[in-house]
Protein backbone atom coordinates (compact mmCIF):
# COMPACT_ATOMS: atom_id res chain seq x y z
CA UNK A 1 0.00 0.00 0.00
CA UNK A 2 2.77 2.39 0.93
CA UNK A 3 4.35 1.68 -2.42
CA UNK A 4 1.12 2.60 -4.16
CA UNK A 5 0.86 5.78 -2.13
CA UNK A 6 4.35 6.78 -3.06
CA UNK A 7 3.74 6.06 -6.69
CA UNK A 8 0.51 7.99 -6.94
CA UNK A 9 -0.20 10.76 -4.39
CA UNK A 10 -3.89 10.93 -5.34
CA UNK A 11 -4.29 7.43 -3.87
CA UNK A 12 -3.37 8.89 -0.50
CA UNK A 13 -6.39 11.21 -0.52
CA UNK A 14 -8.61 8.39 -1.63
CA UNK A 15 -7.43 6.41 1.36
CA UNK A 16 -8.24 9.27 3.76
CA UNK A 17 -11.69 9.65 2.22
CA UNK A 18 -12.29 5.95 2.63
CA UNK A 19 -11.11 6.07 6.23
CA UNK A 20 -13.38 9.02 7.08
CA UNK A 21 -16.33 7.34 5.41
CA UNK A 22 -15.84 4.26 7.55
CA UNK A 23 -15.58 6.39 10.70
CA UNK A 24 -18.74 8.31 9.84
CA UNK A 25 -20.66 5.11 9.34
CA UNK A 26 -19.46 3.95 12.77
CA UNK A 27 -20.89 7.10 14.24
CA UNK A 28 -24.25 6.21 12.80
CA UNK A 29 -23.95 2.76 14.35
CA UNK A 30 -23.17 4.23 17.78
CA UNK A 31 -26.13 6.62 17.61
CA UNK A 32 -28.23 3.64 16.63
CA UNK A 33 -27.11 1.71 19.70
CA UNK A 34 -28.02 4.64 21.94
CA UNK A 35 -31.48 4.72 20.42
CA UNK A 36 -31.87 1.02 21.07
CA UNK A 37 -31.19 1.48 24.80
CA UNK A 38 -33.82 4.25 24.88
CA UNK A 39 -36.22 1.95 23.11
CA UNK A 40 -35.50 -0.82 25.59
CA UNK A 41 -36.22 1.48 28.52
CA UNK A 42 -39.49 2.57 26.95
CA UNK A 43 -40.46 -1.04 26.37
CA UNK A 44 -39.77 -1.89 30.00
CA UNK A 45 -41.89 1.04 31.14
CA UNK A 46 -44.71 -0.08 28.85
CA UNK A 47 -44.48 -3.57 30.25
CA UNK A 48 -44.81 -2.26 33.80
CA UNK A 49 -47.82 -0.15 32.92
CA UNK A 50 -49.55 -3.09 31.19
CA UNK A 51 -48.67 -5.27 34.14
CA UNK A 52 -50.31 -2.84 36.55
CA UNK A 53 -53.43 -2.42 34.45
CA UNK A 54 -53.88 -6.16 33.96
CA UNK A 55 -52.96 -7.73 37.26
CA UNK A 56 -53.96 -5.33 39.96
CA UNK A 57 -57.23 -4.41 41.50
CA UNK A 58 -58.47 -1.26 39.90
CA UNK A 59 -59.73 1.70 41.84
CA UNK A 60 -61.80 3.82 39.52
CA UNK A 61 -63.78 5.99 41.87
CA UNK A 62 -64.74 6.22 45.48
CA UNK A 63 -67.22 3.33 45.29
CA UNK A 64 -64.33 0.95 44.55
CA UNK A 65 -62.59 1.92 47.76
CA UNK A 66 -62.84 -0.43 50.67
CA UNK A 67 -64.35 1.50 53.48
CA UNK A 68 -61.37 1.95 55.74
CA UNK A 69 -61.89 4.72 58.22
CA UNK A 70 -58.87 4.17 60.40
CA UNK A 71 -55.61 2.27 60.59
CA UNK A 72 -54.81 0.45 63.81
CA UNK A 73 -51.50 -1.13 64.79
CA UNK A 74 -49.92 -2.86 61.82
CA UNK A 75 -48.37 -6.22 62.58
CA UNK A 76 -45.98 -8.29 60.52
CA UNK A 77 -46.00 -11.83 61.90
CA UNK A 78 -43.47 -14.50 60.92
CA UNK A 79 -42.97 -12.98 57.51
CA UNK A 80 -40.78 -14.84 55.09
CA UNK A 81 -40.08 -13.08 51.83
CA UNK A 82 -37.75 -13.52 48.91
CA UNK A 83 -37.38 -11.84 45.55
CA UNK A 84 -35.91 -14.98 44.02
CA UNK A 85 -34.86 -18.53 44.93
CA UNK A 86 -31.48 -17.73 46.34
CA UNK A 87 -31.80 -14.45 48.15
CA UNK A 88 -34.09 -14.51 51.13
CA UNK A 89 -34.87 -10.97 52.31
CA UNK A 90 -36.88 -11.83 55.39
CA UNK A 91 -36.60 -14.83 57.55
CA UNK A 92 -39.23 -14.86 60.27
CA UNK A 93 -39.77 -11.12 60.44
CA UNK A 94 -41.84 -9.83 63.34
CA UNK A 95 -42.58 -6.15 63.42
CA UNK A 96 -45.27 -3.99 64.95
CA UNK A 97 -46.06 -0.51 63.69
CA UNK A 98 -47.77 1.21 66.58
CA UNK A 99 -50.73 3.47 65.96
CA UNK A 100 -50.14 7.20 66.31
CA UNK A 101 -46.53 6.61 67.29
CA UNK A 102 -43.24 7.52 65.68
CA UNK A 103 -41.94 4.20 64.32
CA UNK A 104 -38.44 4.17 62.89
CA UNK A 105 -36.82 1.57 60.65
CA UNK A 106 -33.04 1.56 60.57
CA UNK A 107 -30.41 -0.82 59.32
CA UNK A 108 -27.63 -1.04 56.80
CA UNK A 109 -28.58 -0.85 53.14
CA UNK A 110 -29.86 -4.18 51.88
CA UNK A 111 -31.34 -4.89 55.29
CA UNK A 112 -34.90 -4.83 53.97
CA UNK A 113 -36.18 -1.43 55.08
CA UNK A 114 -37.57 -0.54 51.68
CA UNK A 115 -38.90 -4.06 51.19
CA UNK A 116 -41.06 -3.65 54.30
CA UNK A 117 -42.54 -0.46 52.87
CA UNK A 118 -43.13 -2.12 49.50
CA UNK A 119 -44.92 -5.02 51.16
CA UNK A 120 -47.00 -2.56 53.14
CA UNK A 121 -48.00 -0.60 50.05
CA UNK A 122 -48.69 -3.81 48.09
CA UNK A 123 -46.08 -3.01 45.48
Amino acid sequence: MIVILLEDPSQFFNLITAFLTVMMSFRAVITGINNITDLKESLESCERIFDLSENHEMIRDESDLKNITDIDNIEFKNIEFRYNENAKVFNNLNLTIHKNKFNALVGYSGGGKSTILNLLLKL
Binding site: I71, K88, F102, A104, V106, L120, L121
Partner: protein
Protein backbone atom coordinates in the same frame (compact mmCIF):
# COMPACT_ATOMS: atom_id res chain seq x y z
CA UNK B 1 -55.33 7.35 54.01
CA UNK B 2 -51.62 6.89 53.45
CA UNK B 3 -49.16 9.66 52.71
CA UNK B 4 -45.79 8.73 51.29
CA UNK B 5 -42.64 10.78 50.81
CA UNK B 6 -39.72 9.08 49.10
CA UNK B 7 -36.15 10.13 48.43
CA UNK B 8 -36.75 11.95 45.21
CA UNK B 9 -40.36 12.85 44.69
CA UNK B 10 -42.12 12.88 41.38
CA UNK B 11 -43.66 16.22 40.59
CA UNK B 12 -45.86 16.81 37.59
CA UNK B 13 -45.51 19.56 35.01
CA UNK B 14 -48.54 21.32 36.38
CA UNK B 15 -49.17 24.15 38.83
CA UNK B 16 -48.44 23.59 42.51
CA UNK B 17 -52.17 23.54 43.24
CA UNK B 18 -52.75 20.79 40.68
CA UNK B 19 -49.80 18.81 42.03
CA UNK B 20 -51.48 18.77 45.42
CA UNK B 21 -54.82 17.64 43.96
CA UNK B 22 -53.36 14.58 42.25
CA UNK B 23 -55.17 11.40 43.22
CA UNK B 24 -57.58 13.01 45.66
CA UNK B 25 -61.27 12.16 45.43
CA UNK B 26 -62.34 15.36 47.11
CA UNK B 27 -60.61 18.38 45.67
CA UNK B 28 -58.89 20.60 48.17
CA UNK B 29 -60.33 24.02 48.93
CA UNK B 30 -58.06 27.02 48.38
CA UNK B 31 -57.71 27.64 52.09
CA UNK B 32 -56.68 24.01 52.64
CA UNK B 33 -53.96 24.39 50.03
CA UNK B 34 -52.77 27.59 51.71
CA UNK B 35 -52.62 25.89 55.10
CA UNK B 36 -50.69 22.94 53.70
CA UNK B 37 -48.20 25.11 51.87
CA UNK B 38 -47.70 27.25 54.96
CA UNK B 39 -47.01 24.13 56.99
CA UNK B 40 -44.08 23.26 54.71
CA UNK B 41 -42.53 26.77 54.85
CA UNK B 42 -43.06 27.36 51.16
CA UNK B 43 -42.94 31.17 51.09
CA UNK B 44 -39.87 30.96 48.83
CA UNK B 45 -41.81 29.29 46.00
CA UNK B 46 -45.51 29.76 46.74
CA UNK B 47 -47.90 31.29 45.71
CA UNK B 48 -47.01 30.45 42.15
CA UNK B 49 -49.37 29.97 39.22
CA UNK B 50 -46.70 28.70 36.82
CA UNK B 51 -46.28 25.11 35.75
CA UNK B 52 -43.36 23.36 37.38
CA UNK B 53 -41.60 22.14 34.22
CA UNK B 54 -40.54 18.67 33.22
CA UNK B 55 -40.04 16.59 36.39
CA UNK B 56 -40.44 19.81 38.38
CA UNK B 57 -37.27 21.34 36.97
CA UNK B 58 -38.45 24.88 37.70
CA UNK B 59 -38.17 24.39 41.46
CA UNK B 60 -35.24 23.10 43.52
CA UNK B 61 -34.85 19.64 45.01
CA UNK B 62 -35.60 20.93 48.49
CA UNK B 63 -38.70 22.71 47.25
CA UNK B 64 -39.82 19.54 45.46
CA UNK B 65 -39.49 17.56 48.69
CA UNK B 66 -41.48 20.16 50.60
CA UNK B 67 -44.20 20.02 47.96
CA UNK B 68 -44.17 16.21 48.27
CA UNK B 69 -44.62 16.51 52.04
CA UNK B 70 -47.56 18.85 51.52
CA UNK B 71 -49.02 16.34 49.07
CA UNK B 72 -48.64 13.52 51.58
CA UNK B 73 -50.35 15.62 54.24
CA UNK B 74 -53.27 16.30 51.89
CA UNK B 75 -54.37 12.64 51.89
CA UNK B 76 -57.70 11.70 53.41
CA UNK B 77 -59.01 15.26 53.56
CA UNK B 78 -55.77 16.54 55.10
CA UNK B 79 -55.91 13.87 57.81
CA UNK B 80 -53.64 11.04 56.70
CA UNK B 81 -53.81 8.07 59.04
CA UNK B 82 -50.42 6.75 58.09
CA UNK B 83 -47.43 8.76 56.97
CA UNK B 84 -44.43 7.01 55.46
CA UNK B 85 -41.16 8.90 55.15
CA UNK B 86 -38.62 6.89 53.21
CA UNK B 87 -35.28 8.69 53.60
CA UNK B 88 -37.04 11.88 52.58
CA UNK B 89 -33.94 14.03 53.01
CA UNK B 90 -31.36 11.61 51.61
CA UNK B 91 -31.05 13.28 48.22
CA UNK B 92 -30.72 16.81 49.61
CA UNK B 93 -27.64 18.84 50.47
CA UNK B 94 -26.85 20.52 53.78
CA UNK B 95 -29.07 23.58 53.92
CA UNK B 96 -32.01 22.02 52.09
CA UNK B 97 -31.80 18.90 54.22
CA UNK B 98 -31.87 20.98 57.38
CA UNK B 99 -34.89 22.91 56.19
CA UNK B 100 -36.88 19.83 55.19
CA UNK B 101 -35.89 17.99 58.36
CA UNK B 102 -37.17 20.90 60.44
CA UNK B 103 -40.61 20.54 58.85
CA UNK B 104 -40.56 16.77 59.26
CA UNK B 105 -39.62 17.11 62.91
CA UNK B 106 -42.67 19.29 63.54
CA UNK B 107 -44.89 16.67 61.90
CA UNK B 108 -43.19 13.87 63.81
CA UNK B 109 -43.56 15.64 67.14
CA UNK B 110 -47.31 16.10 66.72
CA UNK B 111 -47.96 12.29 66.58
CA UNK B 112 -51.25 13.04 64.81
CA UNK B 113 -51.05 9.83 62.84
CA UNK B 114 -49.06 6.62 62.58
CA UNK B 115 -45.56 7.49 61.43
CA UNK B 116 -43.11 5.18 59.73
CA UNK B 117 -39.70 6.68 59.11
CA UNK B 118 -36.87 4.98 57.27
CA UNK B 119 -33.66 6.77 58.11
CA UNK B 120 -30.07 6.57 57.05
CA UNK B 121 -29.09 9.38 59.37
CA UNK B 122 -29.77 8.10 62.86
CA UNK B 123 -29.86 11.57 64.43
CA UNK B 124 -33.20 12.18 62.71
CA UNK B 125 -34.99 9.34 64.48
CA UNK B 126 -33.52 9.78 67.94
CA UNK B 127 -36.91 10.80 69.34
CA UNK B 128 -38.81 7.84 67.89
CA UNK B 129 -41.06 5.80 70.19
CA UNK B 130 -39.99 2.55 68.57
CA UNK B 131 -36.72 2.15 66.72
CA UNK B 132 -36.62 -1.14 64.80
CA UNK B 133 -33.14 -2.25 63.81
CA UNK B 134 -33.22 -4.59 60.82
CA UNK B 135 -30.47 -7.02 59.97
CA UNK B 136 -30.24 -10.44 58.38
CA UNK B 137 -33.91 -10.56 57.53
CA UNK B 138 -35.44 -9.79 60.89
CA UNK B 139 -35.81 -7.14 63.56
CA UNK B 140 -32.77 -7.51 65.75
CA UNK B 141 -33.46 -4.73 68.23
CA UNK B 142 -36.48 -2.65 69.09
CA UNK B 143 -36.89 0.15 71.58
CA UNK B 144 -36.27 3.82 72.24
CA UNK B 145 -32.92 5.45 71.67
CA UNK B 146 -32.04 5.23 75.36
CA UNK B 147 -33.06 1.59 75.61
CA UNK B 148 -31.03 0.59 72.57
CA UNK B 149 -27.99 2.51 73.75
CA UNK B 150 -27.95 0.37 76.90
CA UNK B 151 -27.43 -2.85 74.91
CA UNK B 152 -23.76 -3.64 75.09
CA UNK B 153 -22.28 -4.40 71.66
CA UNK B 154 -25.76 -3.63 70.31
CA UNK B 155 -26.32 -3.09 66.61
CA UNK B 156 -27.89 0.34 67.01
CA UNK B 157 -25.06 1.47 69.23
CA UNK B 158 -22.47 0.26 66.77
CA UNK B 159 -24.26 1.96 63.86
CA UNK B 160 -24.35 5.23 65.77
CA UNK B 161 -20.66 5.06 66.50
CA UNK B 162 -19.72 4.05 62.97
Amino acid sequence: MVGYVGQDSIVFDETIDENLQVGLFNRLENNQIETLMKKVNSSDFYPNENKLGLKGSNISGGQRQRLAIARALARNNCQPKLLILDEATAALDGKNEEEVQKILNEILESRNCTLIVVAHRLSTIKNADYINVLAEGSVKECGTHDELMKIEYGLYKSMLNA
